[in-house]
């Protein structure tokens, strides 16, 4: 639990390599949102998540719900790094019969707590996990990763209101604010104006960080850990495609694979030595 900042950064770098490799091999998938979220997920699992890779179904584990389930390569890369699955399993991404389904699926992959793929669902599911934990008298928490485009779904706000009503201090959200959604920049698709103010107005504890600054991420996770009087959200300002120059801030790489040339460049930028 005491990984250093440089160790976290190195873990995220290794995950980024696997993300690009998975999408390249499959020639399909979602690299942009995986690269924007990965620093956050890497830090979360390395600093606070109470889970047992050797016993992924341990009933009293913290839950992690990747609501933006298309960003599955990031999740799979992390699960392989943490030993929930084997690195070889990453080759099954989007392959018939493979445990690494296109969108993360609890029925297929060890360590996955939610069957995602349809946006706007994970926060409610996490709320159910948090309510169950409270009924059980358990200290376990539910962490939910949302995309920013995703909060355009109305059901997010049903859950946002309900979580405050039920005073769910064990429900903790990270919002990957990468400013790009499927078709274009969020600003073009649906302006969301003051996102922190919206969550505050719904009664949430809110903190904003730079989602690629590992020191700020660790501080942000401490904020989530210590905010137990109600639901909390860490709004992480990120760059879609972070770490691969031509994918960064580029809506084209929300859901597209690199070609051979781009793949070689990406590997080089991520420090892979041939």
């Amino acid at each position: 639990m005491s990984a250093s900042i440089s160790e976290l950064e190195e873990l995220a770098r290794r995950c980024r390599i696997e993300i690009v490799k998975m999408v390249y091999r499959a020639q399909a998938g979602h690299p942009g949102g995986s690269l924007s979220e990965i620093d956050l997920i890497a830090a979360l699992y390395s600093t606070t998540m109470r889970v047992r890779p050797e016993d992924p179904d341990w009933a009293d584990r913290d839950r992690f719900i990747l609501s933006k389930g298309h960003a599955s390569p990031g999740m799979y890369a992390l699960l392989a790094e943490k030993g929930f699955i084997q690195h070889q399993d990453l080759h099954s991404y989007r392959v018939l019969g493979g445990i690494c389904q296109g969108h993360v699926d609890m029925k297929w992959c060890p360590g996955v707590d939610f069957s995602a793929g349809s946006l706007g669902m994970g926060l409610s599911f996490g709320m159910g996990c948090a309510l169950a934990a409270r009924l059980d008298g358990s200290e376990r928490r539910a962490f939910v990763m949302l995309g920013d485009g995703e909060i355009q779904e109305g059901s997010i706000w049903e859950a946002a209101m309900a979580a405050t009503h039920h005073e769910l201090g064990n429900l903790k959200v990270i919002l990957d604010r990468n400013r790009i959604q499927n078709d274009d920049f969020c600003q073009e698709q649906m302006r969301m104006f003051d996102i922190p103010a919206k969550w505050k107005a719904f009664g949430w504890n809110v903190k904003e960080i730079d989602g690629h600054n590992m020191e700020e991420i660790v501080e942000g996770i401490k904020f989530l850990d210590s905010s137990n009087d109600g639901p909390s959200i860490l709004i992480a300002h990120t760059i879609k495609g972070k770490g691969v120059s031509f994918m960064e801030d580029n809506p084209s790489f929300h859901g597209a694979a690199p070609n051979d040339e781009q793949y070689a460049l990406a590997m080089s930028e991520l420090g892979v030595v041939e």
Binding site: F125, L135, A162
Partner: protein, 312 residues
């Protein structure tokens, strides 16, 4: 005169009887007074989750609780469950989480609230979902018993209940005969088989009585489980009677009639007539008026029986 009761009351009673199981939780979307989960709320407020007027959230909170070992019973009007259909599909059925969704006030029998409240497609849509058991019981006794069985089923389900009272059929029967997936033969005849569900079961019995006055002996089946369909029983009565009528307060498309005809198309050439709502919406009216307007009442079932027999 037999006792009259609404199936939703059987649901409410079952939740109370299930409360000994501390894994059972109840979820509401501001209609607990109507679906009858309110009795559970009064006794067990700590295990009752209010989701406000938010059905999509309710379905997925239920899914999250089911994934953590709880047995959620969520209810609202049948029509409003449909708003959360994709949540039921992707969040509940796909991961096979044992969430039990109850839609009360189903069908045109719901009455004067009008067409916006009269779900006539719920059985059809939920029947398309893998893993999901679909029930539509006909009286409060069977609703109570089937609801209690759901708690042990370890699979997701959808149950439609009705707002208004209908005759109680099972006060004096062996309760072990009421089982998920097993149709109940209420009356045995060799000329035509009427397979009904929900509020039309008692209408089917009336129709059979009328037919017997005309010398026609009808089998009547309470097919409370739409999915999985009791195909053995369908085949048995198809073979014995050679003509079948289905009857439901639901669209003729995709519900009980759809399920029976899909099965028969693979097993026999038995003529089938479907009594149901004929691809239209309802309107405000009393329950009995609606059954007349929609041509669902006993005389219409009897007419359909003649049509089916004429096609033998």
């Amino acid at each position: 005169m037999s006792r009259m009761a609404a199936t939703r009351d059987g649901y409410g009673q079952a939740l109370l009887e299930l409360a000994d199981n501390d894994r059972v939780v109840v979820l509401e979307a501001d209609l607990g007074k109507s679906t009858k989960s309110l009795h559970f709320r009064k006794e067990y407020p700590e295990r009752t989750i209010s989701c406000g007027i938010g059905e999509q959230n309710m379905l997925l909170v239920s899914a999250g609780m089911a994934s953590s070992g709880y047995i959620p019973f969520a209810s609202t009007f049948a029509i409003f469950t449909e708003r959360a259909f994709e949540q039921m599909r992707n969040g509940v059925a796909r991961p096979n989480l044992a969430v039990h969704l109850c839609g009360s006030h189903g069908g045109t029998h719901t009455g004067t609230d009008g067409s916006s409240a009269q779900s006539i497609e719920d059985l059809a849509i939920y029947r398309t979902l893998p893993n999901v058991t679909v029930l539509h019981p006909c009286d409060d006794v069977s609703t109570r018993l089937l609801t209690k069985q759901l708690a042990d089923s370890n699979k997701p389900s959808y149950m439609r209940t009705a707002r208004n009272k209908t005759p109680v059929l099972y006060d004096d029967v062996d309760q072990s005969t009421i089982q998920i997936g097993k149709g109940i033969e209420l009356r045995e005849g060799n000329d035509v088989a009427i397979i009904a569900c929900g509020v039309l079961v008692s209408e089917a019995l009336k129709a059979a009585e009328d037919l017997s006055q005309q010398g026609i002996q009808a089998t009547v089946i309470d097919m409370h489980t739409i999915k999985p369909l009791d195909t053995d029983l369908v085949d048995k009565v198809a073979s014995r009677c050679g003509a079948i009528v289905t009857a439901e307060d639901h669209s003729v498309i995709g519900g009980l009639g759809g399920a029976v005809s899909e099965h028969l198309s693979t097993s026999s050439c038995t003529p089938l007539e479907r009594v149901g709502v004929k691809d239209r919406f309802g309107e405000s009216g009393q329950a009995d008026e609606m059954l007349e307007l929609m041509e669902l009442s006993a005389p219409h079932i009897a007419k359909a029986a003649h049509r089916a027999m004429n096609r033998k």
